[in-house]
């Protein structure tokens, strides 16, 4: 494990420049370039806001603001998009870079790290945009905003745990790459992002504990919209993340030797 980390540390310059390159390449390809990083999730928010606001806006409790639903969506999406981007890109990262992996010897762990880096930068950009928009809608940040880095860190850790685990297996069992996007679709709708957690029937709520993304999403919503502290359960998310990360690191290390043979 420490070997993996020291290899990654030696390649930190490479990781940083790769993340930067991704942005540069995007900037060159389209006129708005990096702005799309923010515009795409906001467009998503706009779509949900238009389609669902009449149905769901009234269900938001404790906030008297006509833009409350939009703000709620921004907060939830910020968390979910970070999670999903890391999981999805880790899922195929080894396959996407197969030609490089086959020919050049470099620490493979750098690939998921580049994914984490660029997804985090994307997310920070989105959060900054949100922090610009939310006050206009009437939601002002308070000290609870300091929770945000913690929430982001946990989201990244959890997503990496899942992503690395699935991405490693996907090299050997390509069906995983097909199934997971569908699973993620379900997961999205089983997480209170476009609807408030309160509309889930009481009988079903006890199952929510099995969805480790919920405390994170709710945390983002609390911090950004309600100005309150994240819910309890972050510790449990942390435990899940650590367990997943350890398992996936172990899997990754065992699989590493044979990975190139099947790529």
């Amino acid at each position: 494990m420490s070997q993996l980390m020291s290899a990654a540390w030696r390649y930190r310059g490479f990781i940083a420049s790769s993340v930067a390159n991704e942005f540069k390449a995007r900037l060159k390809r389209s006129r708005l370039g990096t702005a799309w990083v923010v515009l795409q999730p906001l467009a998503q928010v706009f779509i949900y806001a238009t389609v669902l606001s009449n149905v769901l806006a009234a269900k938001l409790q404790g906030v008297n603001n006509k833009y409350a639903y939009a703000a709620y969506l921004v907060a939830g999406s910020a968390c979910w998009s970070l999670f999903v981007e890391i999981v999805q890109r880790c899922l195929t990262v080894f396959i996407d870079f197969s030609s490089l992996l086959k020919k050049i010897q470099f620490p493979r762990i750098t690939l998921p790290m580049i994914v984490i880096g660029s997804a985090s930068v994307n997310n920070v950009a989105l959060i900054l945009a949100a922090l610009g928009i939310l006050p206009i809608l009437g939601f002002y940040p308070n000290w609870n905003l300091l929770w945000l880095p913690v929430l982001m860190f946990l989201t990244v850790a959890l997503a990496t745990g899942f992503g690395l685990f699935l991405g490693t297996l996907n090299v050997f069992m390509r069906d995983i790459g097909q199934v997971i996007p569908i699973v993620l679709q379900f997961w999205f709708w089983f997480t209170p992002i476009v609807y408030p957690v309160t509309i889930i029937p009481e009988a079903m709520r006890k199952f929510l504990v099995f969805n480790p993304v919920i405390p994170l999403v709710v945390g983002y919503q609390n911090v950004l919209v309600y100005g309150t502290a994240p819910p309890h359960g972050l510790l449990w998310v942390g435990v899940v993340a650590v367990v997943l990360l350890s398992v996936s690191m172990l899997l990754f290390r065992r699989a590493s030797a044979e990975m190139v043979d099947v790529l």
Partner: protein, 419 residues
């Protein structure tokens, strides 16, 4: 200088298949599942290469060369045996791998150098060197999609060789690019070698192997067949290929179903045709200026009034380089009877430039083959010339000059006659 830079010991690589991939995964965590099939790509390969030595790796496609190289670079692990590498390995395998066409040459160079494991501050210092060596001018700051493949190769090579590695693997990659840059690449490779870099050269280009390598190994069917002098290994390799093509060679010789490049009425036929060196040994690789002979054994099957033997040496593009016949040399054979045989030996120095040449031969009754053509064979023999001993030159002809250079001290008068 005699410390080994690379030790390959009893190395083998098997690609294994499991009943299901889940079993493979289970095995990583200690479950004992047996693979359903094992496919050994290479096995029992052992050799060592000293510092500063250069080793040619020869073998047909699919012989296991790339697998061996992958294990030496470390992208794949050997199933059995050990590989010990002393120092950094740099591979010129597929130049330009990982380049992003949207980014500039400079950005891609930084990325590639990072991939090689160079720290950021060092890269910053090396970038001017890379830019200078690539010699692509303003293009260095243009997106790579605007590059020609030659320019991409220039950047890729410049990055790959900016730091001298302990072991440099050179694949076919160098065949791309213009002659000027290829020459520059070889110059750098030679400099590395003089500075103690071990070279591993994989090529089908016999002259590259001959000029750059001290030693060669031949891999066939995943086994190490031969380890020795490049010339010896190349000869063996060619014999190996010839053996595989044996059947076709024989049908040509026995005249069962003549091939397209052969024609003639057949009163006189070639029984054997060989290019031999001064010891009478058949050769296919010759060095510039080497004394060689073309030996033809001719069998007569019907009465022949006059017999003229002619040959033509062509370069790889089919352009005639030299041709003559026994009519011009005044050595016509007259009144031959069936059962007679004639042996012709044409001795000549191989005063050709490096490259591949073919020999066409003909048996006719006069100056041209248009009157009576007994047998005509195009591409009857192929040989390769490489320059190992002579000063570098270009072209298909070796015309050794004696160059005199006289120098006079200028006194401001540009047209002053030299003493």
């Amino acid at each position: 200088m005699n410390r080994p830079a690379l030790i390959v010991e009893n190395v083998g690589k098997a690609y294994v298949q499991y009943g299901s991939e889940l079993r493979r995964v289970a095995r990583w965590f200690g479950a004992s599942t047996r693979p359903i099939s094992e496919h050994w790509v290479i096995r029992n390969i052992s050799f060592r290469v000293n510092k500063g030595e250069s080793l040619g790796i020869i073998g047909q496609n699919g012989a296991g060369k790339s697998t061996l190289l992958k294990m030496i670079t470390g992208t794949t692990r050997a199933t059995e045996g050990q590989i010990a590498v002393d120092g950094r390995v740099s591979a010129l395998l597929e130049l330009g791998l990982g380049f992003n066409p949207e980014l500039t040459g400079r950005e891609n160079a930084i990325y590639s150098a990072g991939l090689m494991g160079l720290p950021r501050d060092k890269i910053e210092k090396l970038i001017p060197w890379i830019e200078e060596f690539a010699e692509i001018g303003d293009y260095f700051d243009q997106p790579m999609r605007t590059y020609s493949s030659g320019m991409q190769m220039r950047v890729a090579f410049s990055v790959a060789t900016v730091v001298r590695p302990e072991i440099l693997i050179v694949d076919e990659a160098l065949s791309v690019g213009d002659a000027y840059f290829v020459h520059k690449c070889f110059k750098r490779i030679r400099e590395f070698r003089e500075a103690g870099t071990t070279l591993l050269i994989v090529s089908h280009d016999a002259s590259a192997i001959q000029t750059l390598c001290d030693r060669a190994i031949l891999i066939d069917g995943g086994r190490l067949m031969l380890d020795g002098d490049p010339q010896q290994v190349l000869d063996y390799y060619n014999a190996l290929i010839a053996e595989k093509e044996n059947s076709t060679v024989r049908t040509t010789r026995t005249q069962q179903g003549a091939v397209a490049t052969e024609s003639g009425t057949g009163e006189a036929q070639f029984d054997a045709l060989q290019l031999i060196d001064s010891d009478g040994e058949p050769v296919e690789y010759v060095t510039v200026g080497q004394a060689i002979s073309l030996r033809a054994k001719v069998r007569i099957t019907a009465p022949v009034q006059q017999l003229v033997f002619g040959y033509m040496i062509r370069d790889r593009l089919g352009q005639p380089v030299f041709g003559t016949n026994t009519h011009h040399t005044g050595q016509v054979c007259l009144d031959l009877e069936p059962g007679d045989s004639v042996e012709v030996l044409a001795h000549f120095p191989a005063n050709f430039g490096p490259g591949s040449y073919s020999i066409s031969v003909a048996l006719t009754d006069a100056d041209t083959h248009l009157v009576k053509n007994y047998q005509w064979r195009d591409l009857a023999l192929v040989f390769t010339v490489s320059n190992v001993a002579q000063a570098k030159f270009v072209g298909t002809a070796w015309v050794p000059p004696r160059i005199e250079v006289s120098r006079s001290v200028g006194r401001g008068d540009a047209f002053a006659p030299s003493p």
